[in-house]
Every structure is written in structure tokens, then in C-alpha cells.
């Protein structure tokens, strides 16, 4: 194993070596390593290429905020994902890792030519060029830009993994399991509250894993963290690691993404890869700590340049030294400790370069003890090294003047520009931030949700401060929840609180216009890009962000926002708070689509509603069509028939013998109560008062705008009880609309509505043999035309089942609709099917139903109407009760445009050649020879071939249609004009003789 691994250090398991591949090359590490820590342990810093200039890059940090070390990760077929953070992905035997955004390979990438021409690719360059010649944009420029952009490659195979989701209700949700989070959770849990503690890392402890030297209440830091975690579990708290709080939504709804298998060599088949938690917390504690800032200077992006705190993490958490000879460049005390720890672990510290002129004496003493050279009051002005840093150029700064440069050789440069509180989730709540001048950073201010921020998240540095503040906040939320809670004081030894200063880009003696001082690493945004944006009038921080793309990389500004703000503010000559911060938006870190999809894939993407008779249809070879959420039998092809043949047979059989149709999807509403009839009078256009019990009527429902909403046959079972039917798609809408009017407009009415759509299976029998077939099974009702005429309803038994029997027809044939409890639907269907054989029965589907009803001129709401059609337009104004004082839609119908001339009205169309079937949706014109744009006067709403009529028939909505009977209109199609004659809508048995059989 390489000499960068420090024996006995870190949280990795030296007993369990792990092998994975990086660009095909086998790499070994240990269980507990991330891809990045394992590569670093092997002395590999070069892990990726930047977005625009394709510059060689290494890991700059050790966490989820990593902008550079993004890789492709693959487990097997369909299990590849791009842009995975090498600093987060744990390794396992067989993991395949590939570098990105490079060709042909990572160390030699021709895309790097962009880097040579970098002066051309200044901020917003693409807005200023690529405009001539015009045609080149689509054909040349854009494809080039697109190919150059993007990072990894998209997956190309379907994802075989499972994803899950849950709701979770908790008293207290603590985000972040560092010292502050652990202390908060403990305090709240000890107070007897339901506590949930989450952390994105593989284990709890947070900074403690990078500061093992600390001693908390006499216990080594990590031992304390483990003990605290264990106690939480015994107190019944839910502790979730590898779990990222991705978004903070309304009223303390926090979304969590829990990664369950990405770290496992062989996951269980039933264990989901990720689980989305929708947590509703009464109180939230945000203990997300702080993020270290890079320093901005020329060449601050070479592989080997890294944040000092991260180097410390690699050392203590993974037992990895990030280099043999390090230069420390810092404006904050914390980096000094990284230097000391690395020195003690055997890395040569070339020098500690501090931008401050007078570092703390205690630090200087410790440096001296280790005989580390210290350069204070210095700046960095450049680095060398193509694929790995070789040296750094540093200069003294004496009262603002940059002095002579000195070059320090090194194989890594560990920098710290100070720390920024992690306030992303707080920003999701639209909570206000306030600028703190001393700390040169934003701190949480006005809150909009029931949450507290603890520890470094509100600018408190050091372990003791974090612990004690965490405990305080734990007690505070407990008190909000009326629980007695005491925050205990922690005793901490070996704490390393520190201070520092904040910078814009570091001063230089070279031409700043040529400096490659990166602010947003991934997007290659430099300090001078930001200044250019300001120069060009981008004076809002949002404009600066959008113009330069600073903060829009996959780290979402975690590395770049504050540095960007400092530089923009300087360029604008305004203080930072006057410039402001761009909003952080969910998710906190990029989150798999799969986690949001959860269970909603394939069969479970959306409900498929099936009727009680659906299974029979399936067994009998039906082809189905989706209608709203239902699937309905469309037609029943026999021995190789196509749709037309099957439909034509079903139509013929139904008109000549008997057809059987599953109408169970029709909406059904039971309207019951002393005011039932009054309610019906107000709701529907029709008059209901005179409808006798035992009789039914076609009901028409409008919206208050006067347009047709729904229709259906409605039966009166008794004075106080109606059986209302609606369209299949309209059922829920109509029920909702009825409840709305009943509850808010007419609460005085004594009537109640109950949905019975799924109580009843509905079997329609249509055709001359319908009565013959049904009669033997009916008890308690004589089915003769005299005793049970068209539009009757009765409660009786059919084949022994309690039934509601309608005499009604949507085909123009003698028809009955049998409603039986859904649980008996299929049984009755089969009984009637058997008995029907001798009557030449056929089963038919929705298509045949459509043809038969069209032959009779019956409309289908939603096909022949489209929400802009009045009863008069549709030719059914006869359904309007003339003497009713009011009904829904009455006043709407009187609006000027609804009574105007030239409205589109429903008519029949017969193509003049008697053969051509019109296309539904085809447009009508009066003059086929006019130029485009043509004046269109309507469109075809329904069109079928009709065997009964012996020719194609169609409905159309036509301007002034009712007064154009007999006229010829034209349908210009791509392959020629079709002539059609305007007719009435009833094509078959206009007298309705067949109904009265």
C-alpha cells in the first residue's frame, strides 16, 4: 500500500481491503474509503476536468460540496450515474469509476485547447458572437457549444434499482450530526421528545472525525460521539446517516434523501437504492456547520491545491496524507492546525503562508516547535505544474504593495480563506440573512419557520461552542414543545477555535487581467469574469451570477458564493449586504430523480381502474383503451379481425340480434332527501318535478358559464331518491360540483349525495333480442313495453341478484341496463353471456358504442362538445326546463356571445362520394380555393363508417350549422379537398321505432 496511508489513523477498516477501478486501472483502498480518499492514498490527485477550459482538476475538498472531482460510477447494467462526487462515493469491491469531460483521456484532453484561448471565452462571450451567418447557429455553433459543455454522459439504459419513500412525523428534526447536532438531539431526546437526527456522512460526528485530538467531558471526541449516538438510539431517537436533508418546505416539511445501497458491494434485492423521507417536524434544529472558503489567486485550481480543513479530514478520517511536501496558504487560524497535524504525520511543511501580518503567538510557537517556516503578511500570485502542482509563487505585501516573489516547491497547496456558515436549508425557508461585519459573512436572522440554528451555522467556532450551543438549542425547542429540558455545559480539552480574515482575490504583482484566479471552479468562473460582468452593467448579484454562471455549478455556490460576493461588492464599490446573496434552492445536494420517482414507475406510475367485468374482457381477447383513469374494452376482435372488422361485426350483431356492453365505468350518484327533486331542478337544466318514480330522463348539466359540462340518464326511484348517472370521465368532477353548490350555495336543502359508481356493475343489453334474453332472469317486473316502457327504472332481482334495471338505450335499439352490486357483476355477465348464445349475442366495446350512438345522433360530451358548446349549439335545447326560475348555467346562457349569430353548431356530415371517411379533427371551410390562412368554419368531432347507414357518417361543429342543412362544405386535406353535405345528426331510425319494440 502506498506511503500516503498513515497506519492506525482514520475510520477506515484496515482489515478489509477493497479493489475498484478508475478509468480501467485497478485501485486499492479500504472499507470506509471514498473514491477520493483511496485515490489520494495512492498519490493520485488528478480526478477530473473543468467545464469550460477543461483544466486538470483534483479534489478540492472532502465532502458533498466538491466541485472538481466528479466521476462516473457504475455497478452493472443500467446502474451508471454521471457527476458522482468522488469525495462522497464510498468504495466497494468491483465499483467502476470513470473520469469525465475529457477526450481521449484524463491526462491528455484535446478539449484543453479552450484553455489556451481563454481570453476569448470571457463571461457571456456567447451572447456577443455566433450570430453570423444566421444559419450557422443551429448547424455549427450550437452543436459545438453543446458538445463542449455538459460534464459526464447521461445514462442510456433503464434503471433496474428500486426506490422508496415514507412520511415521518417527528417532534424534533436535527439536521447535521456534528457536535452541535448531537448535543441538540441528546438534549431533546432526554426531554422525552420524538427526535430524528440526520447526517449526510456515513457516520455521525461531523467535525469530530477531523478533530480526534479533542476530549469531551473526559472522553476522546470520537468515543463521545459514538456514546452520544448510542444513547440517542436507546432513547428511541431515529438516527439516519448517509441521509441528506435536501429541501426545507412549508411548515417544517423537510425532504430527506437516504442512500441505502450505493456503499454496498451486494445490496439485497428488496432494499431500495434510495428512500425519500417527507418529514413533518414540529421543531427543526439546523446544525449543518460551516464550509471552508478557497482563496482566490492565479492558479488556485491545480491538482494538489486543496482546502486545508479537507486535508485534515483526509488525514484523520481516512488516514491519508494528501502529499509529501505541503505549502499552507491561509487567512484563518484553522489551516495552521492542519499544518501541525500533517507535520506530525510525516508530511514536510514547506511553509505556512499567512495573508495576515501578525498571526497568533501561540500558533507561531507551535510552528517554531516543529521548525516550520512561517511567511506572514504574504500573498500568493501563481502556481506551476500541469497535472499536479509543483510550486507556488508567493510575495510579501507591505502596506498594500506586493513585493518580490519567491517560489516554494511543493506537491500540495493547502489553503483556507476562512469559513462560511452553511445556511442553504435556512434559505429555502425564505428566512432572512444578516451580514456580520466582524466575521465578514451572512448569519441567520429573521426566521419564517419553527426552527433554530445551532453551532457553526450561526458563526460559533470550535467544538465547545458548538456543543454548548447545540445543547442550548435542543433545550429551546424542547421548551417550545412544553418539555422541561436542561442544557448541560460541556468540558472540552484540545479545542481549536480560531479566527481569520476574509478576502476578495489576493493582491498580485502580475497583470490581474491575465490572472486565472478561480472563484467557481467547475464553471471556470474567474475573478476577472465577475469584474467584467459588473463593468458591463450587471449590477444585481443575480445578474452577475447568471451572466458569469458563478454559483450555478453542481456545488450550487457552496465554494463560490461568498468569494463571488466579495469580489462583486468590491467591483461595485458597495458593501456586501447592499449587494446581497443569490437564493439557495433545493435540493441541498444533487439528488437522484429515482428518489423523487419512488414507487411511481411502470404499473405503479398511475392507478389503472378496472371494472368487475374487465377480467372477462381480458380473457376474451378484448383490446382496451384508456379513458380517464379507467381502462375500457375497446373492441373484441375475433380470429384475427382488425378493429374495423370487429367493430363492424359488433355493430351488425347488436342491431340484428343483441349486444352486451360493460357500462360499469359510468359515474353514479345517489341523490336522496326531501329536497332531492328541488336540488335536481337547480342543478340540471331539465325539469324534474313531474318525473314520476319509476321513470328516467336524459339529464343535462351546464357550468354557470352556460357551457355543457356533463350529461347522463337519471332515474327517479322514489319521491326522495334519484339514481344519477354521469359520463365516465365526469363522475368525480360532477360529484364535486354538486357538493360545492349544495354546501356553499344551497346549504338549506335537505338532500345528501353518495357516490355509488363502484357499488354497481352495469351491463347494457341492446338489440331486438335484448328482452328475450333478459326476461327469464328478471323477478318482480314485467318487461313488456306496456309494463316497462322506454325510459323506465325499477328495483328488482336479475338472476337472483338485487338489481336496478333501466329500460334505456344509447344505441337506438331496444335496450336495458342492469345494475347489480359490483361483486356480482362478472357472475351476472357470464350468466347472460351463456344465455345469450342462443340469441346470437356479441360483446361489444366502446368503439361500437360510439358508432351506434352516432348513427342515432347521440352526442358524447367531451368529444362532440369541448367546453365551449351550449345546449342550443349541440341541438339539445329541448332538455332545458323553460319555466324554471334558475338552474346552474341559466344566466350564463344569456350572455351576448352565447346567443349571438354564427355560433358553431352540431350538425351531421355526409361525404358526397359516400365512401370517404372524414378524419376526426379535420377543419371545415366554405371556400376550398381561398389562400392560406384559410377561414375555418368548424371541425369534425366524430366520424365513423356506418354499416347500418351503409356509408361513413360524421358530426361536426359548424358556424351557423343549423341553418346550413343541405349545403356543401369543404374539408381541405393535405391530399386534396373533400366535399360533404350538411345534414341532421340522426342517421338511423329517425322515428325511434326500434326503441319501442
Amino acid at each position: 500500500m502506498s506511503n500516503f496511508r498513515v497506519a492506525g489513523r482514520g475510520r477506515i477498516d484496515p482489515q478489509t481491503p477493497v479493489k475498484f477501478t478508475f478509468d480501467g486501472k485497478s485501485i486499492s483502498g479500504y472499507k470506509g474509503d471514498t473514491v477520493a480518499s483511496a485515490l489520494l492514498a495512492n498519490g493520485i490527485h488528478l480526478m477530473g476536468r473543468s467545464f469550460k477550459y477543461h483544466r486538470p482538476r483534483g479534489a478540492i475538498c472532502a465532502g458533498s460540496e466538491e466541485p472538481n472531482a466528479l466521476v462516473g460510477t457504475r455497478r452493472g447494467t443500467g446502474q451508471f450515474e454521471p457527476n458522482t462526487r468522488a469525495t462522497v462515493q464510498e468504495i466497494w469491491d468491483g465499483l467502476e469509476v470513470t473520469s469525465q469531460n475529457r477526450y481521449p483521456n484524463l491526462s491528455f484532453d484535446i478539449g484543453a485547447v479552450n484553455d489556451r484561448a481563454y481570453m476569448l471565452f470571457s463571461a457571456g462571450f456567447y451572447y456577443k458572437t455566433f450570430m453570423w451567418p444566421k444559419s450557422f447557429w443551429d448547424k455549427v455553433y450550437e452543436p459545438f457549444i453543446r458538445a463542449a459543455a455538459g460534464l459526464g454522459v447521461s445514462p442510456t439504459e433503464n434503471d433496474p434499482d428500486k426506490y422508496a419513500s415514507r412520511y415521518l412525523h417527528t417532534d424534533v428534526l436535527v439536521v447535521g450530526a456534528g457536535p452541535a447536532g448531537l448535543a441538540s438531539a441528546l438534549t431533546a431526546a432526554r426531554a422525552g421528545l420524538r427526535v430524528t437526527l440526520v447526517d449526510e456522512n456515513a457516520e455521525t460526528g461531523g467535525t469530530l472525525t477531523s478533530e480526534p485530538q479533542a476530549v469531551i467531558d473526559g472522553q476522546p471526541a470520537l468515543a463521545w460521539a459514538e456514546a452520544a449516538t448510542a444513547e440517542l438510539k436507546t432513547l428511541g431517537a431515529r438516527v439516519m446517516t448517509r441521509t441528506t436533508a435536501i429541501g426545507y418546505y412549508h411548515q417544517n416539511m423537510v425532504g430527506l434523501c437516504q442512500k441505502l445501497t450505493d456503499h454496498l458491494p451486494k445490496p439485497d434485492a428488496n432494499t431500495p437504492r434510495e428512500r425519500l423521507w417527507r418529514v413533518r417536524a414540529t421543531q427543526v434544529v439546523l446544525a449543518q456547520g460551516a464550509l471552508e472558503k478557497p482563496l482566490v489567486f492565479d492558479g488556485n485550481d491545480r491538482p494538489g491545491v486543496m482546502l486545508a480543513g479537507s486535508a485534515q479530514t483526509y488525514l484523520h478520517k481516512y488516514g491519508v496524507r494528501v502529499g509529501d511536501s505541503a505549502v499552507i496558504l491561509t487567512s484563518h487560524d484553522s489551516a495552521w492546525y492542519a499544518a501541525f497535524d500533517l507535520a506530525d504525520a510525516g508530511t514536510k511543511i514547506v511553509a505556512i503562508v499567512d495573508t495576515r501580518s501578525a498571526p497568533a503567538a501561540e500558533l507561531l510557537a507551535q510552528a517554531q516547535k516543529r521548525s516550520i517556516r512561517v511567511l506572514s503578511g504574504y500573498t500568493a500570485t501563481g502556481t506551476e505544474g500541469r497535472l499536479r502542482i509543483k510550486s507556488v509563487r508567493v510575495n510579501p505585501v507591505v502596506n498594500g504593495k506586493v513585493g518580490t516573489a519567491e517560489t516554494l516547491p511543493c506537491d500540495c497547496l493547502l489553503m483556507s480563506g476562512g469559513w462560511t456558515p452553511s445556511l442553504h436549508l435556512f434559505s429555502h425557508t425564505k428566512g432572512a440573512l444578516a451580514w456580520n461585519d466582524d466575521m465578514q459573512t451572512f448569519l441567520p436572522d429573521r426566521k419564517t419557520e419553527d426552527c433554530e440554528i445551532a453551532g457553526a451555522g450561526r458563526g460559533l467556532w470550535g467544538i465547545a461552542a458548538a456543543l454548548n450551543d447545540g445543547a442550548q438549542m435542543g433545550a429551546t425547542v424542547a421548551r417550545h414543545l412544553e418539555k422541561e429540558a436542561s442544557a448541560n455545559e460541556f468540558g472540552v480539552e484540545g479545542d481549536r477555535p480560531g479566527t481569520g480574515v476574509s478576502h476578495k482575490e489576493l493582491p498580485t504583482d502580475l497583470n490581474p487581467g491575465k490572472a486565472r484566479a478561480f472563484v467557481d471552479y467547475q464553471n471556470d468562473v474567474t475573478a476577472k469574469d465577475l469584474r467584467l460582468a459588473v463593468r458591463e452593467g450587471m449590477h444585481s448579484i443575480e445578474h452577475v451570477k447568471r451572466y458569469t454562471t458563478n454559483g450555478m455549478a453542481t456545488d450550487q455556490g457552496k465554494m463560490s458564493n461568498i468569494n463571488g460576493l466579495n469580489i462583486a461588492a468590491d467591483a461595485l464599490g458597495k458593501p456586501q449586504p447592499k449587494v446581497g446573496l443569490t437564493t439557495f434552492r433545493p435540493p441541498y445536494t444533487p439528488t437522484s430523480f429515482g428518489a423523487f420517482v419512488g414507487y411511481h414507475r411502470g404499473d405503479h406510475f398511475e392507478v389503472t381502474r378496472k371494472t368487475p367485468i374487465d377480467s372477462w374482457a381480458e380473457e376474451n381477447g378484448a383490446i382496451f383503451e384508456p379513458v380517464s383513469l379507467w381502462r375500457r374494452a375497446w373492441y373484441f376482435p375475433k380470429n384475427g379481425e382488425d378493429m374495423d372488422a370487429a367493430v363492424s361485426r359488433e355493430c351488425k350483431t347488436t342491431r340484428s340480434a343483441v349486444g352486451m356492453f360493460d357500462a360499469s365505468t359510468l359515474g353514479k350518484i345517489e341523490v336522496v332527501g326531501p329536497d332531492a327533486v328541488e336540488f335536481m331542478n337547480r342543478m340540471y337544466t331539465n325539469p324534474w318535478t313531474k318525473l314520476a318514480p319509476g321513470r328516467t330522463r336524459y339529464g343535462l348539466l351546464l357550468g354557470d358559464d352556460g357551457y355543457i359540462r356533463d350529461d347522463g340518464v337519471i332515474g327517479r326511484l322514489s319521491d326522495d331518491r334519484f339514481h344519477v348517472t354521469t359520463t365516465t370521465g365526469g363522475a368525480a368532477r360532477v360529484m364535486n360540483m354538486m357538493e360545492d353548490y349544495l354546501q356553499t350555495e344551497w346549504p338549506d336543502l335537505k338532500v345528501w349525495l353518495t357516490s355509488t359508481t363502484e357499488q354497481w356493475a352495469t351491463i347494457a343489453l341492446n338489440g331486438p333480442n335484448a328482452r328475450k334474453l333478459l326476461e327469464p332472469f328478471v323477478e318482480g317486473q314485467d318487461l313488456s313495453d306496456e309494463a316497462f316502457p322506454h325510459m323506465s327504472i325499477v328495483e328488482c332481482t336479475v338472476a337472483g341478484f338485487p338489481a336496478r334495471l333501466f329500460r334505456v338505450s344509447f344505441t337506438g335499439e331496444l335496450g336495458f341496463e342492469v345494475n347489480v352490486p359490483a361483486c356480482h357483476g362478472r357472475q351476472l355477465w357470464e350468466i347472460l353471456w351463456e344465455a345469450g348464445q342462443k340469441h346470437g349475442i356479441c360483446a361489444y366495446g366502446t368503439e361500437t358504442m360510439h358508432v351506434l350512438r352516432a348513427e342515432k345522433g347521440y352526442i358524447i360530451v367531451g368529444q362532440d362538445t369541448d367546453g365551449t358548446v351550449t345546449p342550443h349549439d349541440a341541438g339539445i335545447s329541448w332538455a332545458i326546463g323553460k319555466n324554471k326560475p334558475d338552474f346552474v348555467g341559466k344566466r350564463g346562457l344569456e350572455r351576448p356571445d352565447l346567443v349571438a349569430e354564427g355560433r358553431k353548431q352540431l350538425v351531421g356530415l355526409l361525404t358526397q362520394d359516400g365512401i370517404t371517411k372524414l378524419e376526426e379533427g379535420a377543419q371545415l371551410v366554405l371556400d376550398p380555393n381561398q389562400p392560406i390562412p384559410m377561414k375555418m368554419v368548424g371541425h369534425v368531432t366524430s366520424s365513423y363508417h356506418s354499416d347500418a347507414v351503409g356509408r361513413p357518417i360524421a358530426f361536426a361543429l359548424l358556424e351557423g350549422g343549423h341553418s346550413r342543412m343541405g349545403e356543401t362544405i369543404y374539408i381541405p386535406m393535405p391530399d386534396g379537398v373533400i366535399n360533404a353535405e350538411v345534414t341532421g345528426t340522426v342517421f338511423y331510425d329517425p322515428k325511434g321505432a326500434r326503441l319501442k319494440l
Partner: protein
């Protein structure tokens, strides 16, 4: 996802159980008496679209099924109050006082 207090169930429950039903206190003119086109337009279409406390209707659709009224701040999406249909329209000043 909001939390909604149902005044009938007297419980505060997840938004998923509820459906929004538009602005509240838009009375339907009695069409039995003459109503001008403008009055009818106002009833059908004109809305205050308040930026701030908004009187609106919700239905506890996947619950008790009741429509009820609410005042919600459309800037913060927080409910100031929910109340039953037929109960008098609460004064905004009182609500803002309470919410402080």
C-alpha cells in the same frame, strides 16, 4: 406541502387531503332576478388575487368532505384562520392582531 386546519374535523392535517376551491365569499347572484352581464362576469371570473391575506375556500376532500373558508397569506402561504361555511367573515385586522 401545507398543513391545513379543518374546522369540522378540528385537526391540522396534510395538504394532500385537501383541495383548493378558489376565492371565498364570491356570492352567486340570484339568477331568478335580473343580473347584468358585468355582475355575472364578476361572479364567474373577477378575482381579487390578493398578495397577502386571502379569503379562500378549501375542501377536505379526502376527509370529512366539507368545503370551508380560510384566510391564508399568499406571500408566506401560512393560514391565519380556517372557518366553517356560513360563519361570518372574520375581520382582517383582528386576525393580524392575533397572528402577532
Amino acid at each position: 406541502m401545507l398543513l391545513v386546519h379543518c374546522p369540522y374535523c378540528e385537526q391540522t392535517l396534510p395538504e394532500l387531503e385537501f383541495t383548493y376551491a378558489g376565492e371565498a365569499h364570491v356570492a352567486r347572484p340570484d339568477a331568478a332576478t335580473p343580473v347584468s352581464d358585468e355582475e355575472w362576469r364578476n361572479f364567474l371570473f373577477i378575482r381579487n388575487n390578493v398578495k397577502g391575506p386571502h379569503y379562500e375556500r378549501w375542501r377536505h376532500f379526502h376527509g370529512c368532505g366539507r368545503y370551508f373558508n380560510a384566510v391564508r397569506d399568499t406571500v408566506s402561504d401560512r393560514f391565519l384562520i380556517t372557518y366553517k361555511v356560513g360563519e361570518t367573515r372574520p375581520e382582517l385586522s383582528d386576525l393580524l392582531e392575533k397572528s402577532k
